[in-house]
Amino acid sequence: MAVAVYPRNLAEALRILEIQSPLVLAGGTDLMVKRAGTYPDECPVMYIGNLPELRQISRQGEELRVGAACTFTELLASPLLPDYLRVPLAQIASPAIRNAATIGGNLCNASPAADALPMLYALDAHFILVSAAGECRMPVRDFFLGPGKTMLAAGQLLAEIRIPIREGWRCIYRKVGMRRANSLSKLSFYALSDCAGGRLQDIRIAFGAVAPTVVRSREAEMKILSGLPVEEIILMYNGLIKPIDDARSSSRYRREACIRLLKQYLQS
């Protein structure tokens, strides 16, 4: 039987983390469905879901700060959240899972199919990582190394997600799942555009679940802004997308659906 520890604040949590190397549990919606035997029985479990420091949502100037232990339900209920963050989060799982699942868990689990990821890539979000030794700030694209692999070091917690806010973003999120609820993405497509003054000012495009980490290319986005023909843009993304065959879909479908979604978006 695993021992459970419940730190009351972040400092205590970081101390326990340093000394006991516990398994960190937030909402448990990824951890609890792992098969028995994935983690050693003797490993203590530390619950971080009610650490007050990780549960804040605030706005500091042009930056939204989201505590890692906020649940999706809390995020969706916050008036501080702009629509372009709300749209992807609302498509995650189902109400019961969203009541428990945290954004930090979604990110630290580092599934290529995680629905919170593409938007954070597109928005150039930063993560605040904390440990007993101090805190550091890391861009989202540096944090993810591959499926289940992140830069999170032993003794570190993801504390906060910092997201630049910008008026004028219009988003679309297409989650291609296996059913309407409680389903992981076969692929996802997130795009932002700013058309202030009737002219395309900026564009961001991110694909989820079609490569070891989210696919985003500023270079390609700049080409779109410079008016490169759609066919050539598609060729660029076709080279960046590296989908796999797995239990949920085929690489062929993933690639073609991505390209078709991109084409539809660019032509509209």
Binding site: R35, D41, V176, M178, R179, R180, A181, S249, A257, L261
Partner: protein, 710 residues
């Protein structure tokens, strides 16, 4: 008295809702041991050696040498061992069990056992099996069963035909996905083995124990526990874990619990047969179907199991609801090195009706006819003879039902003016189908010979003694209502316990949409007898099945009345498909059924919604593939079942057409509700995309190929 159709409070619900119901995994007994099964990790091999580490104290290992009787699961043929002896034929085949007081330790002990295999070339697909000319899995041919029958004169009709429309369809696996995995608890006391667990057919387990132990029935007792769903998956399969738990209990002298985890359950239990069906229809110049030549192939997995019986239902259903005078129908079920295919709600019907109904759509498309009119022109009618030459004695309300389904769904307007707002493709399609109720042919008489008893106690309480299992479908309530009605007593005066073979006679398995029709009818008969003697204080009455007069069945030649009764259905499904991703939403479902009198309206509604969801899941998202002899989707993260968001409310109607044979005019319904969903979905998708489909499941991956013209 209220009409019998008015909804009653279900007898099994209070326990289930309050959490008082104890399922197999909830059972704890003094000294109970936990069992874990060692399973084959290769698809086909000789076992050369098994290296078992020294046994920790309190643990035991059970293998085939612990079977005192026959190491063969008694189903149709005796080819399947309870525990592998010197060879394995599918990944997941049980080799031995370990039992111990700690579940985790027992599981870890199993992981330390090493099996040395000498691998053989496996047969992993239906095509491989069909092309095989030696090194067969079973006997001297690549199939378990091969059947054929004719009607009329195919050759003559072919000569008169103006054209032929041919199609080949393939269908995939479907997993029953009952909420409660397989589980059994066995205890051995005073020379009697008692097995309790999750099951549909207590007497199948009695037979299995008799075979394995070589004991008489008086030393064998089987009791059903509250069961979290079956769908056919707990028809024949539970005999295997039941015998395993029993062997362990006998060897150790302690109670033994064997509960599967989900991955293990999907890996090794029975699933719906994949199929490949070719239909050639010969038409005259006016578009009348003169003849059909049909070939059915099904993938039976590693052992024969119930495959021959499933194949029979496939070939008796494949004619559809149509009157075609000249037929040649042939079917084979092949052996492959995969988990055994077995019973699943519909039992061969879903594959057959998908193929036939989709073929009717393709004929219409190729000849420029309206597909509904093409169907209507060929509908079976009362007094017609079925494909096997059986007699349709009762009214066949197909026209009325189809018209109603079309009207409810506004079919023709939607079909002709597809709504394409927002760049999505809309489509609507229908299916018309039947389900033959009860065992095939004279099986009720020849194989099952069901019996029921009623017992009246001094306090006036009436106990129903039957082996029909409550598996969530409402059998307890429905059957008790029939008894209460017959005796003119309130339902609260009737008791229906989970069947216990020590007290309940064998009223047959809880399968084949037979419980209401056959067992219900016997209870009505026993009730009438009891009513006559009601003034007596405490007594029992009994009823036994008799084959109805005028029916006949020739099993060898597949001729005569293939079923006692037929239930009919018409479904309409509307979809909205995104042409970019080929993902689609189901926008509407309409259904009309003729299952005779509904014994309980609410239970019927539950069957309709559940059957429809399971049928649409089969048609659409429930994808189970094998790679290297192993199922790929072995969790509910990857094996996708529909949720309430995937299924809009089902609008359904029942037509009034009382059964002559069934109790209070009722017929079978449980399977009917699944059978028509997938073909209606396929027709809707064809209408939306304008392209023919010929495969289930209709995944976006497949539809993208279809849209690309592949």
């Amino acid at each position: 008295m209220k009409p019998i159709t008015e909804a009653a409070n279900r007898l099994d619900f209070e326990d289930k809702i309050t959490g008082a119901a104890r399922y197999c995994a909830d059972i704890r007994m003094e000294g109970m041991l936990f069992a874990k099964t060692l399973r084959a990790t290769v698809a086909r091999a000789w076992i050369r050696a098994i290296h078992i580490p020294p046994l920790p104290s309190g643990m035991a290992v059970i293998d085939w040498r612990d079977i005192p009787g026959k190491n063969a699961v008694p189903i149709v043929t005796d080819d399947q061992p309870f525990l592998a002896e010197n060879c394995v034929n599918y990944v997941g085949e049980p080799i031995l069990l370990a039992v111990g007081p700690d579940r985790a330790e027992t599981a870890s002990f199993i992981r330390q056992i090493v099996v040395e295999y000498e691998e053989r070339k496996p047969i992993l697909t239906l095509e491989e099996a069909m092309g095989r000319d030696g090194d067969f899995i079973s006997g001297n041919q690549p199939w378990f069963a091969s059947y054929g029958y004719d009607k009329g004169d195919l050759e003559g009709a072919m000569r008169r035909a103006a054209r032929c429309v041919a199609d080949t369809f393939t269908t995939g696996y479907q997993e029953q996905a009952y909420l409660e995995p397989q589980g059994m608890v066995a205890s051995f006391e005073d020379g009697v083995i008692t097995v309790r667990g999750s099951m549909q057919c207590p007497y199948y387990i009695v037979d299995a124990l008799k075979n394995a132990l070589g004991w008489e029935t008086d030393r064998i007792r089987v009791i059903q526990l509250p069961t979290g769903g079956g769908f056919g998956g707990k028809e024949e399969y539970p005999s295997i874990p039941a015998v395993h738990a029993a062997l362990a209990a006998i060897k150790t002298g302690k109670p033994v619990q064997l509960v599967f985890d989900r991955k293990e359950d999907i890996l090794c239990t029975t699933k719906r047969h994949p199929s490949q069906i070719t239909i050639k229809s010969y038409l005259d110049a006016e578009g009348n179907i003169l003849a059909r030549d049909i070939d059915v192939a099904a993938d039976g997995g590693a052992y024969a199991g119930l495959s021959s019986v499933v194949l029979q239902r496939m070939i008796y259903s494949i004619g559809g609801v149509y009157r075609v005078e000249n037929l040649r129908i042939h079917g084979r079920v092949y052996a492959t090195n995969k988990a055994v295919s077995g019973a699943f709600r519909g039992f061969g019907g879903p594959q057959a009706f998908f193929a036939m109904e989709t073929h009717m759509e393709h004929i219409a498309r190729q000849t420029g006819m309206d597909s509904v009119q093409l169907r209507q022109r060929h509908f079976l009618r009362q007094e017609d003879s079925t494909s096997t030459g059986g007699h349709l004695r009762s009214p066949v309300p197909l026209h009325e039902m189809t018209d109603l389904a079309l009207r409810l769904s506004d079919y023709y307007r939607k079909r002709e003016q597809p709504n394409t707002d927002s760049g999505k493709l809309r489509g609507i399609g229908c299916s018309v189908f039947f389900h033959g109720c009860g065992f095939t042919g004279s099986g009720e008489q020849d194989l099952i010979r069901p019996r029921v008893r009623l017992r009246k106690d001094v306090d006036g309480i009436v106990h129903v003694l039957a082996s029909s299992a409550e598996i969530g479908q409402g059998a307890m309530t429905t059957l008790s209502k029939i008894v209460a009605r017959t005796l003119s007593i309130p339902l609260s005066q009737v008791r229906y316990e989970y069947p216990d073979t020590k007290v309940c006679p064998d009223s047959g398995p809880t399968v084949a949409s037979r419980s209401v029709l056959v067992v219900g009818k016997l209870l009505l008969q026993a009730g009438l007898e009891m009513k006559k003697r009601w003034s007596e204080k405490a007594f029992e009455t009994e009823a036994r099945f008799t084959y109805p007069k005028g029916f006949s069945w020739d099993k060898e030649n597949h001729q005569g009345d293939a079923y006692l009764e037929y239930s009919w259905g018409a479904n309409v499904v509307e979809v909205e498909l995104d042409p970019v991703t080929c993902d689609y939403k189901i926008k509407g479902v309409w259904a009309v059924y003729d299952a005779g009198t509904p014994i309980d309206k609410k239970i019927v509604a539950g069957q309709v919604e559940g059957g429809m969801a399971q049928g649409l899941g089969y048609g659409g998202m429930e994808n189970l593939e094998y790679a290297d002899g192993k199922p790929v989707q072995v969790s509910f993260t990857d094996y996708i079942l529909p949720t309430s968001l995937d299924l809009p409310p089902v609008t359904f109607r029942l037509v009034d057409n009382e059964s002559v044979l069934g109790p209070y005019g009722a017929r079978g319904l449980g399977e009917l509700t699944l059978v028509g969903a997938a073909p209606a979905l396929a027709a809707a998708i064809e209408n939306a995309t304008g392209r023919p489909v010929n495969r289930l499941p209709l995944t976006p991956e497949y539809l993208l190929e279809v849209m690309n013209g592949g």
